[in-house]
């Protein structure tokens, strides 16, 4: 019996998706932006040109485009300690992406597991998980995050785990919805009839088919996580100085808002452009893979 209809899209189908995605210009633009940010984060040491923590008090608060005594240009100016803003922005992509990928991985895997179990088994398992989801959603997210991080102390692992553990609900709901309809499909019934156990049916037949909506959610959630990471650093509860973070730079710049506008403006643009890129790519991904998904 041919069960291939129920499997994940074969490699050839993924190539087809990729081509359809590439035809959406906004999605492609988003992808390019995201790739640039990733490359900047990975190659920060080579690209930045300055040490992001190197202070130069004689050159503090220099306007964008100005040069220091050695004739080196500061394209986006310098901050209150004479550090190059552009270099700090490039290095700031690191914590943002690190928290983004790691937190999404944690919440994505958690949510996938909950969604699979909840949708497949239903009954009390479903009830328990969905009530837990209601509890989770009842909290103003950022307030809960700062309360917990405030108690545990801000550090990269704490931030990742707190965001990751408290963001599973959306994944669980989307996967659960997909599983509910997959459960009734012929290929799943057929697998049961052929004697497959629950675990095998879940992993081999249901999971691959619930993967596309999951991927769309993960992409769009990444944008949200990056904003949260910068909000936490803005409040002083993110990755701690001297590591440059976009939110931390904004918090520094806020103090000098009336004299040096560039301090707060450029790091904010970095967040905006990154998040916009991810959102554009995610929207395109959704429209290509799963247009009915409402997110």
């Amino acid at each position: 019996m041919d069960l291939s209809a129920g499997r994940a899209p074969a490699p050839r189908e993924w190539a087809l998706f990729a081509r359809r995605l590439a035809r959406r210009r906004t999605a492609l633009f988003g992808l390019v932006v995201v790739m640039i940010v990733i490359v900047a984060a990975l190659g920060a040491s080579w690209i930045a040109g300055y040490d992001p923590t190197e202070q130069d008090i004689t050159n503090r608060l220099r306007a964008p485009g100005s040069q220091d005594a050695a004739g080196r240009a500061h394209l986006f100016g310098t901050d209150h300690l004479g550090r190059d803003i552009l270099a700090r922005m490039i290095f700031g992509a690191r914590p943002a992406l690190m928290v983004g990928f790691a937190a999404v991985a944690i919440s994505g895997v958690l949510g996938m597991m909950v969604g699979l179990l909840s949708g497949y088994f239903g009954g009390w398992i479903d009830d328990v998980f969905m009530r837990l989801a209601d509890v989770q959603l009842a909290f103003p997210f950022i307030l809960l995050a700062i309360a917990v991080i405030g108690v545990l102390g801000p550090s990269l692992p704490v931030i990742i785990v707190v965001i990751g553990v408290s963001s599973w609900v959306i994944y669980a709901r989307v996967v659960r919805g997909a599983v509910l309809s997959l459960r009734e499909r012929e290929f799943v019934q057929a697998a049961h009839a052929l004697g497959s156990r629950d675990g095998r049916v879940l992993l081999r037949h249901i999971l691959p088919n619930a993967f596309t909506p999951w991927l769309v959610v993960a992409t769009l959630d990444m944008a949200r996580v990056i904003v949260i990471e910068s909000a936490l650093s803005f409040l002083g509860l993110g990755v701690q100085p001297p590591t440059p973070t976009w939110g931390g730079m904004l918090a520094d710049g806020r103090v000098y808002i009336s004299t040096a506008w560039w301090l707060a403006t450029f790091p904010g643009l970095a967040i905006l452009v990154t998040v916009l890129g991810i959102n554009l790519f995610g929207d395109g991904l959704r429209d290509t893979l799963d247009p009915r998904l409402k997110l």
Binding site: G150, L250, P267
Partner: protein, 305 residues
């Protein structure tokens, strides 16, 4: 209908029970609440005595029971910093937070629903593109950056609006826009897609075929049906607004619960943090209960279930 309401009410109570447990647990994350609540220079004897007095030596479940019963009576303990009951401190600042969240929601609804409708009706025109791009930018813009940029332009450059504090209507303008923009973007996109879906339905075509002109089709036939997802999202967005107020209030020195809780976290004033998280979450649960009840009036299909 009655059964539905009763079930929904029981669900909300269950959620509140869960919320209370998480709030209670925040204090235990460090391992020793006595050390969290006492100043760092407290002697070992003081810590021991404090544990005894506060009942931190009791079994976990007993402590939780005590916390829960206290929370029901509005007793979260004394603020470490202000020496007042934490509950009172939070309640005093609630009106400011409600004022800000309400204003932000109002801004969002007034901008988003017309924008979404026009976008859908005049699909693929310049207006549609502009509103789509603005919505996309709004969804990608971090609140705290927007707030700072608004201060830069309207307070620092042109000196038009105050950048901090609460009092007059002018004080409300910048914080409300800052807090409301993300919600505006969300509701605009939702209204647009909802209207597009409804406008392609058979009953709209029927109404048009029967000669109903454009405005009534849009307002009477389409909007009523597109309103249901909008009402749901308003309930959910209120949670976003209450949470987002933490950052907006910090930027604009708005004297609400959000700013109070951020300060309380910096000061390690955990009774206040617990009271604030619990009360904001309860507000959100309550609002969603009300939204669900309203829902049954908008969509009779739910009442029959």
């Amino acid at each position: 209908m009655k059964i539905y309401l009763a079930r929904r009410l029981a669900q909300s109570l269950l959620v509140l029970l869960g919320v209370s447990f998480v709030v209670f647990f925040i204090l235990y994350l460090t391992g020793d609440p006595a050390l969290v609540l006492l100043p760092p220079d407290a002697s070992a004897e003081d810590v021991q005595k404090f544990r005894e007095v506060m009942g931190f030596n009791d079994p976990f479940i007993v402590q939780y029971g005590r916390f829960f019963l206290g929370a029901l009576r509005g007793d979260f303990g004394q603020s470490v910093r202000h020496g007042e009951p934490a509950f009172n401190l939070v309640i005093e600042r609630m009106p400011a937070t409600f004022e800000l969240s309400g204003a932000a929601l109002l801004v969002a609804l007034c901008l988003a629903i017309p924008a979404g409708i026009v976008s859908a009706v005049r699909r693929n025109t310049v207006i549609d593109y502009i509103s789509t791009v603005v919505a996309l930018l709004g969804q990608s813009m971090p609140t705290f950056w927007l707030g700072i940029m608004l201060i830069l332009v309207f307070s620092v450059q042109f000196n038009l609006l105050p950048s901090s504090g609460r009092g007059t209507l002018e004080h409300l303008v910048l914080p409300a826009i800052t807090l409301g923009l993300f919600t505006t973007a969300r509701i605009t996109r939702l209204t647009r897609s909802g209207m597009l879906e409804v406008l392609s339905q058979d009953y709209i075509r029927t109404a048009r075929a029967k000669g109903v002109s454009d405005p009534p089709v849009v307002w009477k036939h389409a909007l009523k049906n597109a309103a249901i997802p909008i009402v749901t999202i308003v309930g959910i967005e209120l949670g976003t607004l209450l949470g987002g107020s933490v950052i907006t209030e910090t930027i604009f020195a708005w004297p609400g619960v959000g700013r109070l809780s951020v300060q309380a976290i910096y000061n390690r004033d955990y009774p206040v943090v617990q009271a604030a998280v619990f009360l904001l979450s309860s507000t959100f649960v309550l609002v969603n209960l009300v939204v669900d009840v309203l829902y049954t009036y908008l969509d009779p299909r739910i009442r029959l279930r």
